[in-house]
Amino acid sequence: MVAPKTLFQKVWERHEVVPQTADTPAVLYIDLHLIHEVTSPQAFSELRTRGLPVRRTDRTLGTMDHSTPTRTEQVFGGKPITIESAAKQVRQLEVNCAEFGVELLNLASDKRGIVHVIGPELGATQPGKTIVCGDSHTSTHGAFGALAFGIGTTEVGHVLATQCLLQTKPKTLAINVTGALKPGVTAKDLVLAIIGRIGVGGGTGHVIEFRGPAIRALNMDERMTVCNMSIEAGARAGMIAPDEVTFEYLKGRPRAPQGTAWDQAVADWRALATDEGAVFDREVTLDASQVEPMITWGTHPGMVAPVAGSVPASSEDPVFARALAYMGFAAGQKLEGSPINVVFIGSCTNSRLSDLRAAAGLLRGRRLAQGVQMLVVPGSQQVKKQAEAEGLDRVFIEAGAEWRESGCSMCLGMNGDTVAKGQYSLSTSNRNFEGRQGPGARTLLASPLTAAASAVRGTITDPRKLI
C-alpha cells in the first residue's frame, strides 16, 4: 500500500527533476513563471551577461503592477508616468520581454493587473502546478491547490534560464478551520485571526495547508485572500485542495484546459487532495465561528485584535512599546471609534470583484465621512471592467472615493500613491510595517467591509453596525 500523502507532497513529487540528497537541494520544475517590472530587470541582465536565452517562454508571463500609475491619463496616454525611475522600470520590462520573446501584458493591455490577480483570472493558475514569481504574495495561487511561492531575483534568473529552482523540501503545517464564519466576518478576518494565533514567524520553514469546513465554504476570491497572507505568518506557500468550487471558477477561462483536456485535467486534479491518514509536521485548529471582524493595531500583521476590541494592555512582543509609539496608540486603548484619514481598497489581498462588491454594497447610498480620502484600486483591468459593468464605480465615486486603474498602488506606494506621515490608513492590503504605505504612515489592516464602514463613519467601525 502506498503511504498516504499530503497535497503538498503530491505536487512536490510531481515536479522533482532531481530529488534532494544530503548534500544538494532538489531540482524542482516550475510550470508557470510570472514576472513583473520590479524584481526581474537584474535577472534579465544576468541572462544577457551569460549569453543565455529564456528556456521556456511559453511558461513565462510578464505584467506590470508595482511601479505603474493608477491615474487613467498616465496609463492610457496624454500624460507620462511622472516618476522617472518607475517609467524606466516599465520601459526596461518591455525591452526585456521583447528581446527574450516573453509574453507581456503591458500598461495598455486590457488583461493587465496585479500579477496575483491576473494569473487566476486568465486560468493560467491551475491545481497541481508549481508557480513562482519574484513576489512574496505568490502564495495567493495556492488557493487553487498549486504549490506557489515567492522567490528572489537571483532565482528569477534561475527559472528564466532553466525553468527550475533549487529547493530544500519544507515542512508541512495543517491549519484546520472548523465551524462557519458569522455574517459580516470575512476571509480577511479569518486570515488575520490565524496570523494573530500562530504569529508572524509561526509558519517559517513550512507550507501551510488550509483545511476544514470553513475553508471549503469559501469561494475562490476568499480562498485567495487566505492563501495570500500565508507569507504574513512566515510560510512561503499556503495551499487549499482543489474541489468543485475551484473547477467551477476555472472552467472556460482562456488559459484553462478546454474540451476533453478539461475533463482529463479535472480527473487529475481530484486526486491531489490530501489522503486520509496523511501526516503533517504540525497541526493547528481554529474555530471560524469564534472569529470577529479583525483589525491590526501595530506594525506587523500579527498585532491584531477584534475591531470591537482593544489594543492589548500588555504584550510579550519585544516591539510592543515601539509599535504603539509609531501608531500613536495607548496600551489597552479601544479601537472602535478611533479616527482614520485614508481608506485604501485594493492590493493582491482584497481587490477582486467580490471585494469591490462587498465594499460597494455597504457604501451604496452613503457618503465618506468629512475629511476621509478613499482610493479604490481594482486588482486588474478585467476586474475594473466587470465592476463598471455592475455600476460599482458609480457607487464609489458617488460616495466620494477615487476610482483608479489597476495596480499594487497604495499597498506599498511604489507608484507614488502614498499615505502621508502620521495619517491613519485603513487598508485592505497585507502589510502594516512601519512606512509601508509611505514614510511615517500608520496602516490598519482590515477587510473591505470594515474599510467601507470605517470610511462612512470616519472612525474604525465594526461593519456589522452598518450592514
Binding site: V17, V27, C164, T204, M414, R431, R436
Partner: protein
C-alpha cells in the same frame, strides 16, 4: 562571486525583533534596474531624518559601526517581501553576516545567494551578543561555528550546498545549468 570562508569583525547590534524587508530597504528604493548602490538606502527610514541628514541616534550612524561586517538583530529577521534588494543593500553597505534567532525563508534564501551569511543562534547567545555590542566575533564557514571573544564556539545550521557555493565563490546557476539533460528528460516525460 568572491569565495567566503571566514568573517572576522566587530558586531553592530540592532536589537529589534521582526525587522521586515520594508525597514531594510523601503519600497520606494526598489525602482532600480541594477543591484548596486543600495547600501545608501539601507534602513533608510531609521537611518535618516526627515531632512535627509543622518539620524545620530541610529546605531549604524555611530562611529563604532564603521567597518562592522556582522549585524546582530532580533528574532525573525527579514520577514516580509521577496525583494533581493534587502541582501543587496546589506552587502553593499558592507555587512557579510547577520546573527539572529531566526530568519524569514525568502530572505535567508536570497542572502545565501549574495555572500551574506544568516547565522541562527539560540536565544542565550543572542542575548549575550545584544548585551555586548561591538564584540569581536568570527563567523567560520569551515567549522560552521560562530566564535565569541570568550572562546565559545557556537555551531549554526547552514545548507551544505549553499555553504559549498559560498566557500567556492560559485553561484548556483552553474549547477542548475549542469542538470540540463535531466531537465530536458523531465520536460519530455511531462510534455
Amino acid at each position: 562571486m568572491e569565495a567566503l570562508t571566514r568573517i572576522d569583525s566587530a558586531t553592530v547590534v540592532l536589537p529589534r525583533a521582526d525587522i521586515d524587508t520594508d525597514q531594510i530597504i523601503p519600497a520606494r528604493f526598489l525602482r532600480t534596474t541594477v543591484k548596486e548602490g543600495l547600501g545608501r538606502e539601507l534602513f533608510a527610514d531609521w537611518r535618516y531624518l526627515a531632512d535627509g541628514s543622518p539620524n545620530p541616534d541610529f546605531v549604524l550612524n555611530q562611529p563604532a559601526a564603521a567597518g562592522c561586517q556582522v549585524l546582530v538583530a532580533g528574532d525573525n529577521f527579514g520577514c516580509g517581501s521577496s525583494r533581493e534588494h534587502a541582501p543587496w543593500a546589506l552587502t553593499d553597505f558592507g555587512i557579510r553576516a547577520v546573527i539572529s534567532t531566526g530568519f524569514a525563508d525568502i530572505f535567508r534564501s536570497n542572502a545565501l545567494k549574495n555572500g551574506l551569511v544568516p547565522v541562527v543562534v539560540d536565544a542565550g547567545t543572542l542575548q549575550w551578543l545584544i548585551a555586548h555590542p561591538g564584540a569581536h566575533v568570527v563567523v567560520d564557514l569551515a567549522s560552521i561555528t560562530l566564535q565569541l571573544p570568550d572562546g565559545r564556539e557556537v555551531p549554526f545550521p547552514i545548507e551544505p550546498f549553499a555553504r559549498y557555493c559560498l566557500m567556492q565563490g560559485v553561484d548556483q546557476l552553474g549547477y542548475l545549468l549542469s542538470k540540463g539533460e535531466d531537465i530536458a528528460a523531465y520536460e519530455k516525460r511531462h510534455a
